[in-house]
């Protein structure tokens, strides 16, 4: 986010709101006009096919929020219905279907989003439909037979319409995000292209199956029942996966709890170090994956303590792990088999060397190791206690830390910035 967006003046935010509203109004008006024009030029048969699609469009209220995810591909039912409608009910019909979908989208979306979606889906329907016909697409209800015929007159035109719809989608959304949140259009479009691009290819194939079953295979509305089960199952599997991932993340909490059971004086320490480390890593501009690795490393940096005799860990008491040697390596060894933690192992192994005065100078330590080491030592000094038992003020701790290997200027600056953000968050 830009600074402008974080501290908006009231007038500026009102101006942004107005511009967005005007834009949304224009999109909605264009959508309605295009649909009306298509109705006038092309006409529309309000036959059974149309009503089935109208029903499907309303059902996306229920399905629409359910996303089918396979790998990194999100498939929403909306996209499939809107694309198949082009071939089966024509441009005008697809425009109306899009208008029906708009308000039914996203359970709790604000009115403005619903109006915007109504306009956008209508435009996608009509323009997509015109594009379909322009490259030789025929109404899918025609029972055409023959691989070549179908590919030429349904498959390829559908693919083309798919691309056209995607481009419209991309541009209209990028503009609204630019107006409302001030994000650059290029970044936004790049992000959408990456996340939704493969999904649109998926819509293309699934809509194609639906059209072929509906028309040439003469199944009509029954084709919906054939096409839905695999999508619902993929959806189900995604739900299971999401739940498992959440559970898995929580299982890491048990590791932290084990450390705290071993060393009761460290309760809360791991969580604080994780947050501080992640905040520093962000400040230093590390990649998202590295930030996540640093967070986990901060969380689990003391895991090795669990392998030491309880008496020893507790007798060195307030010193945290400072009097103990070798435990970081043991902690890393425990986690070795877990492939999703492989990025965090280096920082866990070397974090003590970053701040320990008697560590052998030699190999350059990695930035994550320095970050975690510094965050760990800072938290020990200010929250857990020094070897002689007392706590140190934040400023004194920073001064002390400047003298360590991790006391590089950039890392110290990141620490200070992270600390100021932390106090800022506490104050608000």
């Amino acid at each position: 986010m830009t600074d402008e967006a974080t501290q908006p003046s009231r007038r500026a935010s009102r101006r942004v709101g107005l511009a967005t509203n005007v834009y949304v109004g224009v999109v909605a008006a264009v959508g309605v006009c295009l649909t009306a024009a298509a109705l006038r030029v092309d006409g529309l048969a309000f036959d059974a096919t149309f009503w089935v699609f109208a029903l499907l469009a309303m059902l996306t209220w229920w399905f629409g929020s359910m996303e089918v995810d396979a790998g990194r591909v999100n498939l929403s039912f909306t996209g499939i219905v809107l694309l198949a409608a082009i071939a089966l009910v024509g441009p005008a019909g697809a425009g109306i279907i899009g208008m029906i979908m708009g308000p039914f989208q996203q359970g709790r979306a604000p009115l403005r989003a619903r109006v915007f979606n109504t306009g956008m889906f209508a435009i996608m329907g009509v323009v997509g439909g015109v594009a379909y016909m322009a490259v030789g697409g025929v109404p899918g209800g025609d029972a055409r037979i023959g691989t070549r015929e179908i590919v030429r007159h349904i498959g390829l035109p559908l693919l083309f319409a798919d691309v056209v719809q995607f481009v419209i989608n991309l541009v209209l959304i990028a503009i609204v995000v630019r107006l409302a949140a001030g994000l650059s259009m290029r970044t936004q479009m790049g992000r959408l292209l990456e996340s939704a691009g493969p999904a649109h290819l998926g819509y293309g194939v699934i809509a194609f199956i639906m059209v072929v079953l509906w028309g040439p295979a003469r199944l009509g509305a029954a084709s919906v029942f054939l096409i839905l089960p695999p999508l619902l199952v993929a959806q189900w599997a995604y739900g299971q996966y999401a739940e498992e991932v959440k559970g898995h993340e929580r299982a890491l909490d048990v590791l932290v709890a084990a450390v705290e059971a071993k060393a009761p004086h460290l309760v809360g320490h791991s969580g604080r170090v994780a947050e501080l480390s992640a905040s520093m890593a962000e400040q230093l501009g590390l990649r998202a994956q590295t930030v996540a690795d640093v967070r986990v490393a901060g969380m689990l940096h003391d895991l090795g303590l669990t392998t030491l005799p309880t008496g020893l860990v507790r007798s060195t008491g307030v010193a945290g792990g400072r009097g103990l040697r070798g435990y970081p390596v043991r902690g890393a060894r425990l986690l070795q088999g877990l492939s999703f933690l492989s990025g965090a192992l280096d920082a866990i192994t070397h974090h003590r060397e970053a701040v320990s005065p008697d560590s052998p100078p030699g190999d350059e330590l990695s930035l994550p190791a320095l970050i975690v080491g510094l965050a760990d030592e800072y938290d020990l000094l200010t929250e857990v206690g020094t070897p002689d038992g007392g706590l140190v003020t934040s400023d004194a701790a920073v001064t002390l830390l400047r003298g360590t290997r991790a006391g590089r200027d950039d890392v110290i600056r990141a620490l200070e910035h992270a600390l100021s953000r932390r106090t800022g968050a506490n104050a608000s």
């Binding site: 179908i150 295979a217 695999p230 199952v233 993929a234 959806q235 599997a237 005799p309 877990l338 492939s339």
Partner: protein, 443 residues
């Protein structure tokens, strides 16, 4: 190539295998004469489907329980069963036997390739699949109520295509159902699980996937008259999405288990418990659980609780000798279990696991006499833990016998007799209670 043929005493596996071979022989007998002419006529269609089935077989999905499914192969095989008119190719008007032979060839090619890759083959499973396909083929092509088969109706323009589609889906469902019943029967025999429990798990775990498979086969056949052979890859696309999604879910389960296993290593690295103890107890608990017919869904928590049953030792000041809680004082055992449960409760979603760990020390007497509710999972872990503490992980017959006798002494007082009986079954044969024909270390 391991375990190509089932062991001699496995009656059901052999029955399925023999029936499978009979189906093949019958197919050959019925279709053998015209085999060559059919092959020359339909070579392109046959080649495409053989490749699809064989490749689908090689890319099996390993479900969280360790059960394997080959959705792409099943759907392709069913599609071939139903296939009639194919645009650009001659009408696939062939006898049932020909269909079965083609599918059999594809399955056998895949089996041979798997064999060369040193993966498990399990001819009894291949036979179960072939029988399922055979049943579907007989129903779709060979059964003619009113003089016409379902296959004939596909080409009758006076019959509603929706009705035909419904019929095809129903037949596909029956074919897959037969396969699942047979394979669960074979599995329950190997694992010594009650058949009903195996059947419930088989249907329960693969049900969503099966639903997708059951519609994909007919989808191919219905599109083929218009779209030709292209309908196979196109119709398999949604199923492939499903395949990817389910596969990712299953893989995540594997890493989840690894994380839990890491927790169990904490006490081992600290010298509190002997190396491998938690894994052995988990393995044995799972096998006992299967013998008792516990549902797959619940077995996950049994396994996690067994892996973590000694976690509470981590904060002990002085380690127990050899970590053998069975020899520790009852009050110490309880403290350890409580501490373990307390640590586990820090993670949301593992409450049940914590409950199991907590209740593992309760003697069975309290269930019987005081009516105390102790989850069966806890009773299993109690027995499995005692067994491993007593044998020290050795599978030497003498120590296994000694441990079994020692546990028998606590029967009814310490241990649940039903669980002890299941332990005796599980320790009598290493194949009991194992999913897949793999070594335990490979899990």
């Amino acid at each position: 190539m391991r375990s190509l043929f089932p062991q001699a005493h496995r009656f059901r596996a052999w029955t399925v295998l023999v029936v499978g071979i009979t189906v093949l022989a019958a197919a050959f007998y019925a279709g053998g004469e015209t085999l060559l002419t059919q092959l020359t006529e339909h070579w392109a269609t046959v080649a495409v489907f053989v490749v699809a089935i064989a490749v689908g077989e090689l890319f099996r999905l390993r479900m969280p329980s360790g059960r394997e499914a080959a959705p792409l192969a099943s759907a392709s095989a069913l599609a071939f069963v139903f296939l009639g008119k194919v645009d650009g190719e001659p009408n696939l008007d062939v006898p049932v036997g020909f269909v079965v032979l083609v599918v059999a060839v594809a399955l056998l090619i895949a089996a041979v390739v798997r064999g060369f890759q040193d993966r498990t083959v399990g001819l009894d499973q291949v036979a179960a699949r072939l029988i399922g396909v055979g049943v579907a083929a007989v129903l779709a092509r060979g059964t003619r109520p009113g003089g016409r088969s379902l296959w004939d109706l596909q080409h009758d323009r006076t019959v509603s295509p929706s009705l035909v589609a419904l019929g095809l889906v129903a037949v596909a469902g029956i074919g897959i159902g037969v396969e699942l019943v047979l394979s669960s029967s074979v599995r329950s025999e190997r694992q010594r699980t009650p058949w009903l429990a195996a059947l419930r798990d088989e249907f329960g775990e693969v049900a969503p996937l099966t639903l997708a498979v059951v519609v994909s086969g007919p989808m191919v056949a219905l599109m083929a008259p218009a779209l030709g052979l292209l309908s196979l890859p196109v119709a398999l696309f949604p199923l492939a999405l499903t395949y990817v999604a389910v596969g990712r879910y299953a893989r995540n389960r594997v890493t989840y288990r690894q994380t839990i296993a890491t927790l169990s290593h904490l006490t081992e690295h600290g010298g509190y418990t002997p190396t491998g103890h938690a894994e052995r107890v988990a393995d044995l608990s799972l096998r006992i659980g299967r013998v008792l017919g516990i549902a797959d869904r619940d077995l996950r928590d049994v396994e996690y609780a067994a892996l973590l049953h000694d976690l509470g030792q981590i904060s002990l000041i002085e380690p127990i000798p050899d970590g053998a809680t069975v020899l520790a004082a009852p009050s110490d055992q309880r403290d350890i279990a409580d501490e373990g449960a307390r640590i586990i409760r820090h993670a949301e979603g593992l409450e049940r696991v914590a409950d199991y760990v907590e209740a593992q020390t309760t003697p069975y007497r309290q269930v019987r006499e005081l009516g105390e509710e102790v989850p069966v999972a806890s009773r299993i872990i109690k027995v499995a833990n005692a067994f491993d503490d007593l044998t020290g992980g050795s599978d030497d017959p003498a120590s296994v016998r000694a441990a079994n006798e020692r546990i028998h002494l606590g029967l009814g007082y310490q241990y649940d007799p039903e669980v002890v009986e299941a332990l005796a079954v599980a320790t009598s044969d290493t194949a009991v209670g194992r999913v897949g024909e793999r070594e335990p270390a490979a899990r």
